[in-house]
Symmetry: C2
Subunit: 347 residues, 2 copies
DNA sequence: TGGCTCATTTAAAACGTTATAAATCTCATC
DNA sequence: GATGAGATTTATAACGTTTTAAATGAGCCA
């Protein structure tokens, strides 16, 4: 067996410098096939061979050619993130992506991103990806209820994970935040502080998680037997002024709410501003518990009590679930509901 | 000439459905080579042939296999975005990416994203990409002054574009916002409103654009011959409370500034809060002109005058410049300085 | 008709990898 | 010492495209 670096067998061309399996083969004297198997830790390769090949590979800085691997195996080593049109003020998609990237960090997978330019669910893009095998898995940064893309992927058995749940009867992989628990806990905290008429500010009703939040809120107020209020003129997606105006108006009325469960940080800001129009002070005449996903609120006065939703972690979980789906691991759970850390009220 | 769909010549296998050049070849009777040339609009192909091939390709929904193309040509059709660790509250990287994606929309290029997990400029990642040909071009979401990655790419002649300028003597491709003009205009507006002691809140001094802002500010105050103040205890990256505290303290003193040029939206919020601690009201005792990159300020009361920096457009310009660099277009300008729209003061 | 050019079309090779199947080697067993 | 069995290694053929060079056909002139 030739374990001396011989270049006698012919082509010891380094050409443009990029090392390939062939380079290692020439350097070690083994056949390209052997080198390939050694590097991929396939069976039927002796320990010494494997060791020697790995050494040389490391030495010359070999990295497999992605295109060749992809062409041969059909696997793309690509995860595609479908980003919906970004209207959010706080960087929500970027947190997901950082988390995703972290999950993919020591894998061969690359993250490609496809923003949705048209409004709504772009099913053609998804069809392209599935039909032409342009990725091994798909990530939805947001899902509409009864999302047709989800149906398409389920039918084709294509690996994917959604952020949030859609309302299909067929179960699908998702990672979601337990918005029921958030709303339940937030409302309970308001009540615990002595508030007797909590209000919740919800996302638009068509969103699935709006129902979850509402349910949590209602459970808490019913348990405590207190009054409550659900505004139907404002939601988390409407202009902040509208929220402020609403609050300002309500604050002046006798039956005004005295506690606010806010689904977002900006709406909490607007609530504070609106209440202060009537000289009402946070912590004195009313309280707020808000969902926090950024550092906006935590850096601003007055301090607002918050419950954290870790979107980076969400992204990381989505990556984890997707990798398991791609690997065909049926045992791994594919539905993750992230819990608010209700034990440790982070301010 | 065989222009009837004959499957006589043998293999009319559709196999797993994915159409390939071979499929079109079998369907039209031409050779694979001919089909390839026809589709890539190469010369030496008769008009009818080209037409027929395109027809069939469209009909069966042919899309070229990226892996095969990449393997053969060495071009990856991939643009890689290097994202720095995200600490920003407002989604800044995501705007760039949306713009980039828009520029790449009708090209064969895909966008892959690589966040930096370690702090500072990660030169190893860049070296990998260059050495292993993992992308055709690189985008820097942010650059450090004298960024070593920029040097590496320049030396290797690898196409890239940075967001913001670094201070090399060798010119490099960049897209930047004219922060001089912003600061100059913002300060002039404050002075035009009768303010006689403007202050500017700058990014950390080590950032290149901090100098640009300072320069614009100084030019404006010198032209008007007014007093000014440059705080060195706070910057745009420090915790907002710190800004608020500073403002609160200064507001109580006799020589307090009466106009604020804010480089960011959150700092403007903090300034308002700090000033209001002493009962000072925006528009009465003092004014603010802030740089706006999101919808945060535009949705909040009191209204703050802003000058817009369109980060999505920035991303799009970066995409445009990079494509030109990759195409080897030496005539296209590679240094873009985006101007604030000073003619139309958007509130 | 033969020979030439020009316009088209085509066969063959290659890019770097992996999968299949065949070839070699080692060593105990009869 | 021949015979397998088991352990390694290897040659060959793909994957789908583009590139190079060669082949074919048509048209023209001598």
């Amino acid at each position: 067996m030739a374990d001396t670096p011989k270049s006698s067998s012919g082509e010891a061309r380094l050409k443009n410098g990029k090392p390939t399996l062939r380079t290692i083969a020439d350097l070690t004297g083994f056949a390209v096939t052997t080198v390939s198997r050694a590097l991929s830790n396939a069976p039927q390769i002796s320990a010494e061979t494997r060791k020697r090949v790995h050494e040389v590979a490391a030495e010359i800085g070999y990295l497999p050619d992605r295109a060749a691997q992809r062409l041969k195996t059909g696997r793309t080593n690509v995860i595609c993130v479908l980003l919906d049109p970004h209207e959010e003020i706080l960087g929500y998609g970027i947190s997901l992506m950082h988390g995703l990237a972290r999950a993919l960090q020591d894998t061969p997978y690359h993250l490609i991103v496809m923003p949705n330019f048209i409004d709504g669910a772009n099913i053609d893009a998804v069809r392209h990806i599935v039909r032409n095998g342009m990725a091994d898995g798909l990530i939805f940064s947001r899902t509409e209820p009864f999302d047709p893309r989800v149906r398409l992927l389920l039918e084709n058995g294509f690996p994917f994970v959604t952020h949030g749940r859609t309302e299909f009867t067929t179960p699908h992989p998702y990672v979601d935040y337990d918005n029921f628990s958030f709303a339940y806990e937030a409302t309970k905290r308001l009540i615990a502080r002595g508030r007797r008429k909590p209000m919740i500010i919800l996302p638009p009703k068509r969103m699935t998680f709006s129902q979850h939040l509402l349910h949590g809120f209602m459970t808490a107020v019913r348990e405590a037997g207190v009054a409550y209020e659900i505004p139907n003129e404002i939601d988390l997606d409407c202009p902040v002024e509208q929220i402020r105006d609403y609050m300002s108006r309500r604050a002046g009325q006798p039956d005004a709410p005295d506690g606010f469960a806010c689904g977002g940080e900006v709406s909490a800001l607007a609530t504070i501003t609106g209440m202060s129009d009537h000289g009402l002070t946070l912590g004195l005449e009313y309280d707020i518990v808000a969902k926090r996903t950024s550092k906006l609120l935590s850096q601003i006065q007055p301090k607002v009590e918050t419950i954290y939703e870790d979107l980076t972690d969400t992204g990381e979980q989505m990556g984890r679930v997707l990798l398991a789906r791609i690997a065909g691991d049926e045992t791994a759970d594919m539905q993750v509901l992230l819990q608010p850390q209700i034990g440790f009220p982070v301010v």
